[in-house]
Amino acid sequence: MIALGAIATTAALVTARKERLCIQLSFGISAVAAIMGLLTSISVFLEGDLTFEFIAFPFLGPFVIAIDPLAALFLASISIVGLAAAIYSLGYVPQFIGKYSIVKFCALFPIFLISMAMVVASSNVLLFLIFWELMSLSSYLLVAYEHKEEGAASAAWLYFVMAHLGTACIAACLLYLSYASGSLDFHQIALYAGQGMTELARSSAFLLALVGFGAKAGIVPLHVWLPQAHPTAPSNVSALMSGVMVKLAVYMLIRTAFQFLHVDILWWGLLTLFIGSLTALIGVLYAIAEKDVKRALAFSTVENVGVILIALGAAMVFYAQDMLQLAALALVACLLHVLFHSLFKSLLFLAAGSVVHATGTKDMERMGGLAKRMRYTSLLFFVGALSISAIPPFNGFVSEWLIFQSLLLSYTIQDVTVNLLMAIALGMLALTGALAAACFVRIFGSVFLARPRSEVAKQAKEANRGMLLAMSILAVLCLLTGVLSAQIIPFVDQASADIVGVSIGSQITDGWVLEVNGGEVSSVSPILLAALLGLMIPFAFLLVRSLGGRTTRAKGDTWDCGTPLSPRNEYTPTGHSQPILRIFNPLYRSKSSFTFDPSSSPYSKQKMGYSSSIPKLFEAYLYEPVARAILGVAKRASVIQAGSVQRYLAYIFAALVILLLVFR
């Protein structure tokens, strides 16, 4: 697979002159690499772990590439999304010909894809850090790809800084762990790291991991880069970033917390749970307020990372309480949501990419009416919206059901504080879920329904076949993974059993039914629900046609109260979310103002204007003071940099003397 990725990159570089050939080769080979990745992960599930050793630097010991079930699960999600993104690119990238460097894109895309695959495959601290950094750098360059667009450079820069802050924490955490265990190998770390470390040391290692990986995953308040960078990247890259890359942080967080540190301290889980709830709620509230379609999707990624962390936090709490069965249940729910979110979020990003491609704008205020102009894209986006809003029998519903069940079963913990915290998390999750549905009604409604609100939307054309094919693959998977979830859970359980040590696959699936046992059985059968709903709709259609006889069905105008309707009469995305904004205003602190034309009389306004803006609270109240403080300190410190060589020599001499005195 690496070889194929390398070939794809080289092919891209070699065929630099012939841009179309370059695109076909690069993405074709990437697609093949993705299929290979998928086959690899399937073979891991069926036949057991894959390990591969090689020696790069004799003094560092062998570099191990190992794919266990957990890695295989993430590899599968990388491969599926990578495959779809590669196919999509065949139809999507040609639009950049003549505007931006095609070679650059075609060379970076395989590097990004392969580095993600290698991040999950590496089983050595150094190897992992190398590929982690390669992944960050290649995605940074891809975010900055459309550099002529407004804001691209600053978004990429913010991403660059945050990614490296995160990497610094991750490196500190992992290197400390390998120091404590005396080995760079993950397997050795898992065996020995926990033993020699004090509670304080383990807690600080966990906090470092949480901050480091959290920065990549986009937890509040470290999420600020995500809604800037993800939408700025070309849509096929946004799909990979939102669908897969943020999950890799979750992957390593699971590995660090469970395998390296053996979660045995209760508050780690509670902290994760709290951060998850906060992230979910803040993410969805900002998603509802957003007018940029891709940025709204990016905020929804923040929300889903929160949901994933809620499940992960619950798993950690159960694990710390030695309730391994429940820990396994929560972890399965968490991993399922990771997998499912990668499917529907990349579908949504690709479909949004088609819309942006067709209209040339990301502003939902200027869209509308696209369901008639882009019939298939609208259907595919709709499938994604149903999945993410947890509508049965689509996949988002299944993972949300399991998360609710595992949170509910926390009542078996004999600790009232933990019980109440879990109940609060449950309430937050319920609120988030309901708001997410509101958010996607708004997005789908304002992008695809009613009349077009701008000339570009009126002229929009359906996406080309490559793009539609890629999205259809994901859409079919969104439905199938939901309907057949009882068949998928055993694989996910294999991954979680490797981590938690207890397998519950046979307990929570019973044929076509998912069951959770908390004294009495609670069950759901997605496939039967799907079959019933699927049968009921045509049955109802036939029944209604026969009842009451044949009737006419005429086309007419929308009811207009006597004045012809224009696109200005429609509800806009701003209008649609206004009530929610108003109710949650203490959290948004939005500013809105009316303007009147002063020349007109106070009773008949000739010209009125309304503007409202939502300040970036985290930037304003958290990041700016920090940035200002750092700049201030730097300014003070610059006093010692006078620019004269003699002075610098004096500093060096002084430092030397002090060091000699201290480490004599």
């Binding site: 629900l529 019933l532 069905r553 005429a554 929610i580």
Partner: protein, 311 residues
């Protein structure tokens, strides 16, 4: 097999009674307001009349408008399969209380989108407000369901009903009553009743649910209207079955079943009467007063969960 047959009969009864319940509420309201009111079977006649009428579809609307009435009906019928009314038999293995919430969410998701589809201002208004109300009330519903799940150790509605019904009155405590109160507010909010919405108004600026149906006519409208009638019946049935199921038949014997049916009808009538009283004695709340009531429901539900753990 006989069990499933009984469950099917129960579902059929729920589906058949739905318009009657709406008719009864209208009649009760009319009496309280010193009117004679239409006969209680009027909703059946209305539906039959609509089925014979042609429909006009907006030329701005897309495929979604045509699909939505069938999806709404299908989700309500599937939900009706999961709800025990007078006997604790149902297709409960299909889905639990959480599934019920999401089946209702499914119908709402489609309805709120169909409201936007024709590009009418009223539709947009309805859609926007419906999503506001639902996003505040859905957490309250889920938390009140979790209270009974905590009491019984399961989220399966049939198990909840039979466990509560056979356990005597000892389980009636603050948790159960608070959760019931929260769910009662949810009945009003989810079914567009006063004080959240007014089901009989067509006053343009205040309507929520009616605004969403404004563009529907003929058979499509009949389906949408019927779906909301079923939804109201289901909510009232769930309120009794999930929180205060005493009287439901837990064994399939003729006397138990007869008693179960009678008690079920009395229960339906009781809540219909309460709704009619509320609707005759209160005015609709202003839109931005609603969050107070809805978050009140959320807090009641949360107190219910708390009282389970603390008391």
């Amino acid at each position: 097999m006989a069990d499933y047959l009984l469950a099917l009969v129960q579902t059929a009864v729920l589906l058949a009674l739905a318009p009657l319940l709406t008719g009864i509420i209208r009649k009760l309201k009319a009496w309280m307001q010193s009117r004679r009111g239409p006969p209680i079977f009027q909703p059946y006649l209305d539906l039959a009349k609509l089925m014979r009428k042609g429909s006009v579809v907006s030329q701005d609307a897309s495929w979604l408008t045509s699909l939505t009435p069938y999806v709404c009906l299908a989700s309500m019928v599937v939900a009706a399969l999961l709800v025990p009314a007078f006997v604790t038999e149902s297709f409960g293995f299909l889905g639990d209380l959480i599934v019920l919430v999401y089946l209702f969410a499914m119908a709402r998701f489609f309805m709120a989108l169909a409201a936007l589809d024709a590009g009418s201002t009223f539709g947009g208004m309805g859609s926007s407000r419906e999503m506001l109300v639902s996003s505040l009330i859905e957490p309250a519903i889920l938390l009140s369901f979790f209270t009974v799940a905590l009491l019984t150790g399961t989220t399966s509605l049939v198990s909840v009903t039979s466990l509560l019904a056979t356990s005597g009155a000892s389980l009636i405590g603050p948790a159960l009553l608070l959760a019931f109160a929260a769910f009662f507010i949810a009945i009003l909010a989810e079914n567009a009743r006063i004080p959240i919405d007014n089901p009989s108004t067509h006053l343009e600026l205040t309507m929520i649910h009616e605004a969403m149906l404004l563009e529907y006519s003929g058979k499509d409208l009949a389906l949408m209207e019927y779906s909301s009638m079923v939804k109201l019946t289901l909510f009232i049935t769930i309120a009794w079955s999930a929180f205060l199921p005493w009287g439901v038949a837990t064994q399939v014997t003729a006397p138990d079943l007869a008693l179960g049916v009678i008690i079920f009808l009395v229960k339906l009538l009781a809540l219909a009467l309460v709704i009619a009283i509320i609707e005759s004695s209160m005015a609709k709340l202003r839109l931005f007063r609603l969050p107070n009531l809805l978050t009140g429901a959320f807090i009641l539900a949360f107190l219910a969960v708390m009282s389970y753990f603390v008391l």
